[in-house]
């Protein structure tokens, strides 16, 4: 394709990507390097229904003047990234130097909000993604074997978990797993333990969130695999059968290689999605036991009464983007290499 034709073809998409992806990311990146101006404080008399008191207030006018001079705020370099609420560089090096063994170092690490969130985010990502792939694949194989009449309704029902909005789905399950809810109550009966609560202990909360994640995402993998299964060449399957291949051997040597590109696709999407895990944490009120990077961003923006930490949120957003890039790098590089070989 001549360069000119290629450019004419690509420029609308390139422009859209620049406007809607590159510029916002750049803007967030710049925001993360700045912090708010020093607040100019004055002491004034404050009266209300409960009496009068001398209190400090922000001199909004003086602060607004500073704001006008430098609308972005004070330049702070990578200070926000390094502070205790993010990468906590100082705290970590102090803990490292203090010695005290790996155990105490890990304890210090997991006591810091960013690493605590990272621990759950990574666990969630690396447990949910393979389980979703596996479960989706087996559901697809099973549904594919169903007689034609039952296929439609089965597919529809299996897709339901994906159709429910994550926040609503998790809120509904939150009440169902309550000690007095239908799932929570049944579990207490099954395990014969009246104190069993899925919401109280960190471990069970993690398990609940992970089970929810698999439940919610498996239909996506299923429907993609199912579509792929329809394109598996019948001839190859039949020749494999004539050669005496068992059902498992056919799956292993014919179907799986055929579906490999889909596997990569679902893995990519799932890695990205799961790394951004957020709604179930809010829905399950799980922030005491499990937090994620996305949840930290949310908390910075809505954690307390109107006090928003824009730079913190921006810094965590950038770190999330970097995290996604690192996660996807192996898969993307592999695909790129394959493409080059083919070309």
């Amino acid at each position: 394709m001549p360069h000119r034709t290629f450019l004419t073809f690509i420029w609308p998409s390139a422009l859209a990507m620049l406007l809607f992806i590159a510029l916002p990311v750049l803007s967030v990146g710049i925001q993360s390097l700045h912090i708010e101006h020093e607040q100019i404080v004055q002491t004034v008399k404050n009266c209300g229904p409960f009496g009068c008191k001398e209190v400090d207030i922000v001199d909004a006018e003086a602060t607004a003047l500073l704001q006008k001079e430098q609308p972005l705020g004070r330049f702070n370099g990578l200070g926000t990234y390094a502070n205790r609420n993010h990468l906590a560089v100082e705290e970590i090096s102090a803990a490292w130097q203090a010695g005290g063994g790996v155990g105490s170092f890990v304890d210090t690490l997991l006591n810091l909000p960013f690493y605590k969130a990272l621990a759950f985010t990574l666990t969630y990502t690396f447990v949910v993604t393979p389980l979703v792939l596996l479960l989706g694949f087996f559901i697809a194989l099973a549904v594919n074997r169903l007689p034609g009449l039952m296929k439609g309704p089965t597919i529809f029902v299996s897709l339901l978990p994906m159709i429910v909005t994550p926040l609503i789905g998790s809120l509904i399950l939150f009440w169902m797993i309550d000690a007095k809810g239908v799932i929570g109550g049944s579990l207490q009966l099954i395990f014969d333990n009246p104190d069993l609560s899925l919401k109280a202990s960190p471990t069970l909360t993690w398990v609940t969130l992970i089970v929810y994640g698999v439940w919610h995402s498996a239909p996506f993998a299923f429907v993609v695999f199912y579509a792929g299964l329809q394109t598996v060449p019948k001839d190859t399957l039949e020749s494999a059968m004539i050669d005496g291949a068992t059902r498992w051997q056919r799956v292993r040597h014919v179907i799986l290689p055929h579906l490999a590109p889909l596997l990569v696709f679902i893995a990519l999407i799932q890695l990205m999605d799961n790394f951004r895990v957020f709604e179930p944490i809010v829905g399950f009120n799980a922030e005491a036991n499990a937090t994620s990077l996305s949840w930290i961003i949310y908390n910075d923006l809505r954690g307390s009464d109107g006090t928003m930490l824009f730079s913190s949120a921006a810094a965590t957003s950038m770190l999330t983007i970097i995290g996604v890039c690192i996660l996807l790098a192996p898969v993307v590089m592999r695909t790129w290499r394959d493409n080059r070989q083919r070309a």
């Binding site: 404080v41 404050n46 229904p49 922000v58 009464d305 930490l309």
Partner: protein
């Protein structure tokens, strides 16, 4: 009684819509408020003036505290007037987004009592219309069956809870709004003030909660959670109200704005409702003041609103917070509005205020500390770390955030 009130309210609605379409308001009024019975009553009275020369819209939203600052920052503002509290007014003032109301009060605010005016540096910045506080809700029948009196201190709350549990009346007699985040932070603030603690080094924005009073506060909170449903870190006010109405708990420190809701003849049995009583928040550790914070709810007008819209909004809010509105909805809140009989279910708030409970601190950096408290305390309550470590974490998290906000 209920029917009569209903008829009276509907009659008033008809009269006011026919006789005063527009209520003499000329302009656009966009009201943002939290969503609970009192604000519903207030906004319903405001909405009655819609029509004719007045264009009135109302957004009742549980997340209003997160929307105020962005809504008021826009020019023209997304909302001309917003419901504020001692805490949210500070975040609005931090950015200089509230309009001084002195002229409007002089022109249209004849019915406002002096104590309703929230003045900062001599200027009226908000008009308060109701008071609120977390205070003791208790079940008279359950305490009677356990043979204990009404607790006035948290030490007595613990022994009463033990008695109820030991007698096998309830497995988890206590409830608390201990949901990690804002609610849990508020519980610490209440208990810490009950211990006589100070949140900051005098005259600075440096946090100072890592001290003996902070440790005692955390230990008391943990002792209380021993008598709570193990899911306590997920319980907010809605959950506790549900637990109360289901008869699962016998004592809790819940918001005064919920007192009407648990005695309204809906959502519970008459046995539970008739035994639901209210008292001042308990004191703690030999202190004399109730361990709670006093809150006012009021309204502030956006600085970026046009003069006409600001005036329209003020007049509309005068209709919304009139004594007729308060009298018709007297059970919904502890109204601060003149000419309203105090409600029976409001005794807890009144007793807490009379006991000398402190108002929630109106400091620019309090919200940031509150956020840090809410995020870090769960670790201690789950037994993951010591009280000292938790309080050190709170201070460190606060310091990092306060530096970013330019407070330190």
């Amino acid at each position: 009684m209920y029917m009569r009130t209903l008829i009276a309210v509907s009659a008033m609605a008809v009269i006011s819509t026919t006789a005063h379409a527009g209520c003499g308001i000329y302009g656009t009024v966009k009201l943002l408020a939290n969503d609970f019975p009192a604000t519903q009553a207030m906004s319903a009275a405001v909405t009655k003036c819609d029509g004719g020369s007045a264009d009135i819209s109302v957004n009742l939203n549980k997340d209003h505290k997160d929307l105020i600052v962005p809504a008021f920052t826009a020019n023209p503002p997304e909302f001309t007037v917003s419901h504020v509290t001692n805490s949210t007014l500070v975040s609005v003032m931090n950015d200089g987004l509230a309009m001084p109301l002195d002229d409007l009060v002089a022109a249209h605010g004849g019915s406002i009592q002096d104590m309703q005016k929230v003045t900062i540096d001599g200027k009226v910045m908000a008009i308060a219309f109701m008071a609120n506080a977390q205070h003791l809700f208790y079940r008279k029948d359950v305490l009677g069956a356990a043979g204990v009196g009404v607790p006035t201190t948290y030490e007595e709350v613990l022994s009463a809870a033990k008695a109820i549990k030991d007698k096998g009346i309830m497995e988890y007699p206590l409830g608390g709004t201990y949901k990690a985040g804002w609610n849990l932070g508020e519980e610490f603030v209440n208990m810490y003030l009950g211990h006589g603690g100070a949140f900051f080094k005098a005259g600075t924005a440096e946090a100072s909660v890592n001290n003996a009073k902070g440790v005692a506060t955390l230990n008391m909170m943990k002792a209380l959670t021993g008598y709570m449903n193990p899911d306590f870190l997920t319980h907010d006010s809605n959950a506790i109200q549900a637990e109360w109405e289901a008869g699962n708990i016998a004592m809790t420190n819940l918001w005064g704005s919920r007192a009407g809701a648990v005695t309204d003849g809906e959502g519970s049995t008459s046995e539970i409702e008739s035994n639901t009583m209210f008292a001042a928040a308990p004191s703690v550790a030999g202190g004399s003041t109730p361990s709670t914070t006093m809150w006012w709810d009021g309204f502030a007008i956006a600085k970026n609103a046009s003069a006409a819209d600001a005036e329209a909004s003020f007049i509309a809010m005068m209709k919304g917070t009139s004594s007729e509105m308060a009298a018709a909805n007297s059970n919904d809140a502890n109204w601060l509005i003149a000419g309203v009989e105090p409600r029976a279910s409001g005794v807890g708030v009144v007793a807490s205020a009379a006991g000398g409970a402190s108002p929630y601190p109106m400091l620019p950096w309090m919200g940031t500390l509150h956020g840090a408290l809410g995020a870090e305390i769960a670790d201690f309550l789950q037994g993951k770390e010591s009280a000292e470590q938790t309080l050190a974490d709170v201070e460190a998290a606060y310091t990092a955030a306060a530096k970013e906000k330019g407070f330190l």
